[in-house]
Symmetry: C2
Subunit: 504 residues, 2 copies
């Protein structure tokens, strides 16, 4: 079967081919927005519920802030920012009227409303209102919502005008507690990416220039895509007292003195699904790791027009299989099984589910009933032949098999990533590495890889400017206690090991 564009022939089109082949999303009539179809949304639901459990276990509560933010709330921010300009959707009217047969916006608002690009400003305002004494702290909340940023160049899941995300915001009475919180959440993101999405990530602190404006420290998880580029998949910010000062989030401390709160914020979005597609897509479509697959096992019935085995018998056999499988509890949850009875050929159905990346596709027909067996294809080992497995053996081993697939997908992705990390210890090699025509790597048939360099922290702006010429950047600090020669200064004064790579 195979996609129109393979990963190596045309990477950008291959990505969109996978989205389409797996039937995850499509463009919508509203520019830059997408329709997330059941398979794509089902993956998001599983990502969401996995992370939500961690968010609650670490002491946070969910809440919901309004979609609209009055313009005046941004005015304060604009007062502090030179040349403030933001790409945001602005609501100016509250009514549609039919004027001479043409629909027209009517009833202009006194004050325009901005569709939230984040809920940061409005949450900060609430925090200021809710916090009075140290007894009110910590406040640890999270919101799952849609946000809008007017992007000019969009790309399904990776960058869309509207996207779905969570944003966590916390306020604490001590710096120590807030720093702990920042680190706790980046660790939750690492677990989400690695243990659930089978997507290996590098966790690190951002450099001065790269951190979130106004943050004291920003931590990120960075995944390597198959074209060697780095995808930032989630960030967690320790904001010190900076945001509390501008939003006036202050409290009476235990000594009855006023003090500004120590705040954090952290978020991940549907962009994670873009990372998933690139990490686990191949030239047939997508592979979804079992833990976040909307269906972990799909049963495809085969009906034959013969006298010996009726359609009803096949259905009964399949339903029995479904029932037995549903007793299985991989990852501590009931297995998600789909019995696909739609009126299409078995071959079409099998391929549809393999393109979507359901981990296990099982066919059952008259011959299988005769032998009390099932015919199984494992999506992550599609090159293997269809396996005929005894019914009871299959139902007894599926739990373990799904867990094995989950591990194998992560280990494979990790091996690939680890093999693509190289260390470079001098400036010339670094430049050579990222030059558009990379001779070393092309000869080896490799795409540009992740590079680790040692650095003393000098000349950050010049370094970033230089790397930018090759579309590369420093992504994070991977070791805060490195020693040796600084690749930039050439002196024996390195303090950091940092990750350099091309970026999305």
């Amino acid at each position: 079967m195979g996609l129109q564009n393979t990963r190596t022939s045309n990477y950008a089109d291959w990505y969109l081919n996978v989205v389409k082949a797996a039937d995850m999303a499509e463009n919508s009539p509203a520019r830059g927005c997408m329709v997330i179809k059941p398979w794509g949304y089902g993956i998001w639901e599983n990502i969401k519920s996995s992370l939500d459990e961690m968010i609650k276990e670490t002491g946070h509560e969910n809440c919901y802030f309004p979609l609209f933010i009055p313009l005046s709330l941004f005015q304060k921010e604009a007062d502090h920012v030179d040349g403030f300009a933001k790409e945001m959707a602005v609501v100016t009217h509250s009514r549609l009227e039919n004027k001479d047969g043409k629909l027209t916006p009517a009833s202009p608002l006194e004050e325009p409303l901005v569709v939230r690009p984040t809920s940061e400003t409005i949450i900060a305002e609430s925090f200021a209102k809710w916090v009075g004494s140290y007894r009110d702290l910590p406040i640890m909340i999270n919101q799952w919502a849609n946000v809008v940023r007017w992007e000019m160049r969009t790309r399904m899941f990776l960058r869309t005008a509207e996207f779905l995300w969570q944003e966590g915001h916390t306020a604490h009475s001590t710096e120590e507690e807030a720093v702990d919180e920042t680190l706790t959440m980046i660790e939750c993101y690492r677990k989400l990416a690695e243990d659930y999405m089978a997507m290996p990530v590098i966790v690190g602190r951002k450099t001065e220039l790269d951190k979130f404006p106004g943050a004291v420290d920003t931590y990120g998880i960075i995944a390597m895509m198959p074209d060697g580029r780095a995808l930032q998949a989630g960030t967690s910010h320790y904001l010190g007292q900076n945001f509390a000062k501008s939003a006036n989030i202050s409290f009476q401390n235990k000594n009855n003195k006023p003090e500004f709160a120590y705040t954090t914020s952290w978020g991940v979005s549907t962009r994670l699904i873009g990372g998933l597609i690139m990490t686990h897509g191949d030239d047939e479509g997508l592979k979804v790791p079992p833990r976040i697959a909307p269906y972990q096992v799909v049963i495809v019935p085969i009906y034959r027009n013969d006298d010996t085995t009726s359609r009803d018998e096949v259905n009964e056999y399949a339903e029995n299989l479904e029932k037995e499988l549903k007793k299985s509890m991989p990852f501590g949850e009931k297995i998600r099984v789909k019995f696909d009875k739609r009126d299409r050929t078995p071959v079409d159905k099998r391929w549809e589910w393999l393109r979507k990346g359901a981990p296990i596709v099982v066919e059952v027909g008259p011959k299988d009933i005769e032998k009390n067996s099932v015919a199984v294809v494992y999506r992550n080992r599609m090159e293997d032949k269809k396996q005929f497995i005894d019914f009871n053996e299959f139902t007894a081993t599926t739990k373990a098999k799904l867990e094995e697939i989950q591990t194998e997908m992560f280990e494979n992705a990790k091996k690939l990533r680890d093999e693509s990390i190289i260390e470079i210890d001098n400036w010339d090699d670094l430049v050579a590495h990222f030059k558009p025509k990379n001779k070393f790597l092309e000869a080896e048939g490799k795409s540009p890889a992740f590079v680790k360099i040692k650095w003393c922290g000098c000349n950050e702006q010049e370094l970033e400017d230089k790397l930018k010429e090759f579309q590369a950047a420093i992504h994070c600090i991977t070791n805060e206690e490195a020693k040796g020669k600084c690749v930039v200064s050439g002196e024996d004064n390195a303090r950091y090991e940092v990750l350099v790579a091309r970026s999305y």
Copy 2:
């Protein structure tokens, strides 16, 4: 303690007092929108997950359509509707700029975008694209999302400009299947209201004038509020081929002939929480039924400044209680326990949780440790004294207790509702019943109740106009096979029994 306004002294203010006392939501800087705080949002999350499970079990999949709908998609609808005018938020600009220190909308859009009041039009457009053959049917999808309707008079949860809801949309190849679907979903709503929210409802079909415009049939669930008014809490529509015709959702049927699909739609919103507050609020705050309570048991520690029992010992005892309770599985799910360690007095904490309506509040202090007991208050029986229960007995019986509270809350609400339903068999008594000063009921100290009348279906418009004078309306048909005298015509030709009541 008690609220400022009791339910009988000032019903409207009492409602807002409960919202505040239970710390569920507050008004936001954006007009008509609310901030849903953790306790309110936690209730919504549990309502949502309970219903979502039913939605999935009945064969539906979730997906996500964009927030924005281009104006042109509404133009077609406007062409069909005389005097089309809709209260909707309209986005006209995509940028904010700082002009002479004042933030101003900039970059006008070529085509304005409407913030979805429902996703109906955009989903219909997708269906038209997705459906080609009978093999593509049924399509059964659902969306959880925020929607915006520019309401002038808002009331937290009951009517807000932005609200959260789900909308289900399905398309089928036969009328029979679509009718079944409509009924399946109204039954899911009944189960949600009664079995999860402990809110008794009457299920019925809407009359011709009351049904959703364009629907063949609309079914609703109607709850009685303590002021005797009817709250419509959810609806399910069988749309026949009407919507398919206007949106061009057609398919090749099995005989290879083109045919329009048979569609349905159904929805419930955060308005349900308004119903919950009125059903289970009292003059102290809210009572939340255990199945949807964010926390089912709250543990409040009591620390004393004595030498014998340290703070650590109390914490250890409480944590042990928490651990034991978490093994309990009421309703097939792990019990939701909160150990409230905040730095406030035990009395303040106890009252806070009782106002919020946590079903069980348990205090543990040095005296309890001594006796290996716990001090328990049940929110639904707050008039009872605090009960001292043996630690092991308490942990062993909490599962059953929560289920008992759930049943009791439903039975109490149902008894109250059932006692307030009266039958009226002639026009004069009906008018007398709903006249602003209702002598019968006032004398008995009762609020206006639900009335059942028999009706042949005649003069619907005049009947509704007359009832409207008393703010009343027909809410649904409660019996399709009634016999006897029609209250309107006076003839012995009744066909329906209908529910008449004042409305929200």
